[in-house]
């Protein structure tokens, strides 16, 4: 956090197609600890929304409770927002998405919010394939409540006071892969070169997109012995594939070597070009991806990048036949059939 607001200095600033500067995608002043990874994730979201030239009012931000969940207040202040109760963001998101499929939904949660109290909610959000970008800011602790181990803490990781965690960690990437997610990525708050294109791709993806972002808690989990510190994460990164996001209106100009890259078209016409760093990696094969992540986890390595991008799976809207028009623009008479209509419905069950 800082004590003064970041001054608005626009001189020489680059503008996007909407005439907005990157600063126009910022939000309120952060109250997180100085150096918190979550603030960097916020900066990456700001950058991605700016680059995609999203009109701020077409974005909805959703979150639960935690330092991570506070961050929705720090980006795109012109967007819609809902800060829900602890671990319940997916339910609120599902409701909002059902009611209005025209907005882009960005959920921000933490490892406590999503994997401890909210594990059931997250699981079903993946299963139902609700259309949102779900950012899980993963620091291995409950930052907001002063650093207790969360469900993503690794076995043997030490707390700031020196206690050891003995519980098996829940890896959101493995979870999402096994529940059928079609966009599963992991990144690191300290690597925006990787994170920004992933956020842009996640926002273009149809259905549920998960980005698990290792985002160190500088106050309670950045010490020696922690497996989620800046230093540890950096030493244990494994990047099998690099993703470039190419907007629909741009041509793919870079020459990617044959067999070294895979180009995946998103539903809005954008492309993600996956450049293989590990030649054996197949980012479109779910079973291989699962195995790869697990193997590397056993070697204490964090696989990052766009780990899996799947072929199309029916999303929430298709399965439930949600209306194209947002519910707030459907005439009231049509939305609510009235007491006559209710009697008709009830009559069917008599």
């Amino acid at each position: 956090m800082t004590f003064i607001a970041k001054p608005k200095i626009h001189r020489g600033a680059v503008r996007n197609e909407l005439g907005l500067t990157r600063r126009d995608y910022e939000g309120g002043m952060s109250t997180l600890c100085a150096g918190c990874g979550h603030d960097s994730v916020t900066a990456a979201i700001v950058q991605a929304c700016f680059e995609l030239a999203l009109p701020p009012h077409t974005v909805a931000k959703l979150s639960g409770i935690g330092c991570s969940s506070k961050t929705t207040a720090y980006f795109v202040s012109g967007a819609h927002g809902f800060n829900s109760v602890h671990g319940r963001m997916p339910a609120i998101a599902a409701g909002a998405i059902a009611a209005n499929r025209r907005l882009r939904y960005i959920g921000v949660s933490g490892d406590g919010d999503s994997l401890s109290i909210g594990l059931g909610q997250l699981g079903h959000a993946v299963r139902r394939n609700i259309d949102m970008l779900y950012m899980l800011e993963n620091n291995g602790v409950y930052g907001l409540t002063k650093g207790q181990f969360s469900a993503s803490a690794d076995v043997g990781s030490k707390s700031k006071k020196g206690e050891r965690n003995d519980h098996e960690p829940i890896d959101p990437v493995l979870l999402a892969l096994s529940l059928g997610a079609t966009f599963v990525a992991r990144s690191f708050s300290g690597d925006k070169e990787q994170l920004v294109p992933l956020i842009k791709a996640g926002l273009s993806h149809r259905g549920f997109a998960l980005i698990d972002v290792l985002s160190p808690c500088v106050t309670f989990n950045d010490h020696e012995g922690s497996t989620k510190s800046y230093a540890y994460v950096r030493e244990h990164l494994q990047i099998p594939v690099a993703a470039d996001y190419v907007e629909s209106r741009r041509e793919i100009t870079v020459d990617y070597g044959e067999g070294d890259s895979v180009s995946v078209e998103m539903h809005d016409g954008a492309h993600i070009v996956l450049r293989k760093i590990d030649k054996s990696y197949e980012p479109t094969n779910r079973a291989r991806a699962l195995a790869y992540v697990q193997e590397h986890a056993q070697r204490n390595e964090y696989v990052t990048g766009l780990i899996y991008v799947g072929t199309y799976r029916r999303d929430f809207h298709e399965r439930h036949n949600t209306p194209e028009e947002p519910l707030n623009s459907v005439p009231y008479g049509k939305l609510c059939p009235g007491s006559g209509g209710l009697s008709e419905v009830l009559a069917r069950y008599r």
């Binding site: 003064i4 100085a34 150096g35 708050s189 300290g190």
Partner: protein
């Protein structure tokens, strides 16, 4: 991180080496105004003192480097303002010059805080020729050290062109008297009405050193057909006659030839003597005018008519009396601000009762014999060392307009300081070319977690306008000062525009954990963590494009976790301290820098041997 980069090929340009911030010039250049000021006035420091209402302290900080804060706060050429960082963030720089005047106007009596004449003289005698700002600065620096300084001035008043040419409506006599008085009262032997007519004669009087501060006294003439007519005046002589009360009227229609600062003073003076039609004739288009923007503005506000693209051709007389001048009307072929060609598009006659020539000044040293070891170039300029100010005759020094041609007051002061150092070293037998070193001192401004002992919040207030005496009122008398200066309230707003460039961002690479917090918070994107590389290539990888290669890049040593480097583009920083507020490890700190610009008194190597001291 493994975004694998191939190692640079052999013979390729090398990555940048870490910046050495112990080099005093590094942080000095960050303080753009101070770097641009020839005398290196500590601008942000005095502005902060004004913000605290400490006007006398602000005055003394100024005086230490520029000697004449009240004078310069009115008429300085202010090279600091175009350099000011604020001008890179929005359109207008901080009103640095006018704030200097605030310090002077609102100060208390500071006389007891000035150096006193020393009880014991050091036995060395120095002659200064001319009582302009250059000589007075030499006297100011040397008298407190015990030198017996004799200043010879041809006129009955001291001040040089500040007195004789800068009109009183810009610079009141009382301001001059007061600040010159401070110098003279340090025990300087000022001999007015005493022209030096022979350098040889002066040298024979046994001075240990002689400083020539006689200015560039000769106004340029314009030898065109018809020049022999009367009522054609040379600008600087005419202004001088005006200052001494020898001239008190002028015709209705006046033409000024030239469009520099002398022209501005001539046209505005002519108006005050009662001229009703004053035209300033310029040969070139407006962007080539030599006059400062603010002087042009003031002249035009007073209804002076500036005519561009007119080249003087002849003076025209009728019946033995000046009738006007003929001009060629020029047309220029331009490419932006570059002249590609010109042609004469016609001839114009402009009637006039008086013509004033303001086309430049020359140096003249008829009183310096050419056989006494002081060499001159064919141009008439003395051969003077740019650093030491010594001529080809040891012990004879030149400074101010006399040394390298006409400049301005603040340059004359800067020369005076350097010449004083040389004279001091000369008298102590130290080599002149070795200069006392500059230094830099740093001290943290951290008070608490997010608290600084300077006001780091960016204030978007726009530049305040200086109030002027009404157009009606100002012509009543010759010496009504036009600018009124800021009052305390206006000053309090203007000082908030200063970005505190002397509060430096100081980086400690070994503490950085590469969390990106500083990168994310910086409002101008001037920070980047990236792999090192050759300067040109690295410049292309900065978070914000590098706009101004004249400004430095700071490059840290390799960072612990990834071996990348922290790069800062000094051009863009607004010294808001947010990087340091956000940094969890104090790798960034905000530290006040003091740039030590040594004067003669700071030269530790110099001691006059006791044996040579006289009581």
């Amino acid at each position: 991180m493994s975004h694998g980069e191939p190692p640079p090929a052999a013979g390729a340009p090398q990555p940048m080496s870490p910046t050495d911030t112990r080099d005093p010039d590094y942080f000095h250049q960050v303080v753009d105004c101070q770097w641009a000021c020839p005398a290196h006035t500590d601008v942000p420091e005095y502005i902060r003192l004004i913000a605290q209402g400490r006007y006398s302290d602000a005055y003394l900080v100024n005086r230490e480097s520029n000697v004449f804060p009240g004078i310069l706060g009115r008429v300085c050429d202010r090279p600091c303002e175009p350099a000011c960082r604020r001008g890179r963030v929005e359109d207008k720089p901080v009103a640095i010059c006018r704030l200097k005047r605030v310090a002077a106007d609102l100060r208390d009596d500071i006389t007891d805080r000035l150096p006193r004449p020393p009880a014991r003289k050091n036995g060395r005698r120095v002659a200064c020729i001319g009582a302009g700002p250059a000589s007075l600065t030499v006297a100011n620096d040397l008298a407190p050290l015990g030198y017996e300084v004799v200043v010879f001035e041809q006129y009955a008043q001291a001040g040089g062109l500040m007195r004789t040419n800068i009109p009183a409506f810009r610079l009141p006599a009382q301001v001059l008297d007061e600040e010159i008085g401070y110098v003279v009262d340090m025990g300087v032997d000022l001999r007015l009405g005493t022209p030096v007519e022979s350098m040889r004669g002066l040298l024979e009087q046994g001075f240990d050193a002689v400083f020539v501060g006689t200015g560039a006294p000769r106004g340029k003439d314009l030898l065109l057909p018809g020049r022999e007519a009367g009522r054609i005046h040379i600008g600087i002589q005419w202004l001088e006659s005006l200052a001494f009360g020898h001239v008190d009227k002028i015709g209705q229609r006046v033409l000024i030839i030239g469009v520099g600062n002398t022209a501005m003073d001539c046209c505005r003076s002519a108006l005050r003597l009662g001229a009703s039609e004053v035209r300033v004739m310029a040969r070139k288009p407006r962007q080539f005018f030599k006059a400062s923007a603010w002087e042009l503005e003031d002249a035009e506000e007073e209804s002076v008519h500036i005519m561009v693209n007119h080249a003087p051709k002849a003076f025209v007389s009728e019946g033995g009396r000046l009738a006007g001048m003929l001009f060629d009307r020029l047309e220029y072929e331009m490419d932006g601000d570059r002249i590609l060609g010109q042609r004469v598009a016609g001839e114009v006659f402009i009637p006039a009762d008086d013509v004033i020539l303001a086309i430049g000044q020359d140096n003249a040293f008829p009183w310096i014999e050419r056989d006494i070891g002081i060499e001159f170039a064919p141009s008439g300029m003395p051969a003077v060392d740019k650093v030491t100010h010594q001529s080809t005759r040891p012990g004879v020094f030149f400074g101010g307009d006399a040394a390298f041609g006409p400049k301005n007051i603040i340059w004359a002061v800067a020369h005076g300081h350097e010449a004083a150092i040389s004279i001091h070293r000369h008298c102590c037998g130290e080599p002149l070319a070795e200069r006392p070193p500059r230094g830099v001192n740093l001290q943290s401004r951290k008070m608490g977690m997010h608290e600084w002992s300077y006001k780091n919040d960016y204030n978007p207030v726009e530049r305040r306008l200086v109030p002027h005496v009404s157009l009606k009122e100002r012509f009543r008398k010759l010496d009504i000062e036009v600018e009124l200066g800021f009052d305390a309230e206006q000053a309090a707003a203007e000082v908030q525009r200063c970005l505190n460039c002397d509060i430096q961002t100081v980086f400690e690479a070994r503490l950085c954990i590469e969390c990106d917090a500083c990168i994310d918070i910086c409002p101008t994107d001037c920070l980047t963590i990236t792999r090192n590389g050759p300067e040109a290539e690295l410049s292309g990888r900065l978070k914000a494009p590098r706009r101004n290669p004249g400004q430095q890049l700071y490059v840290s040593g390799p960072l612990k976790q990834t071996g990348r480097v922290m790069v800062k583009d000094e051009d863009l920083c607004v010294h808001c301290g947010l990087c340091a507020e956000r940094c969890p490890t104090n790798a960034w700190d905000m530290q006040k820098s003091w740039i030590e610009i040594p004067h003669a008194e700071d030269d530790d190597r110099c001691r006059i041997p006791n044996a040579l001291r006289r009581a």
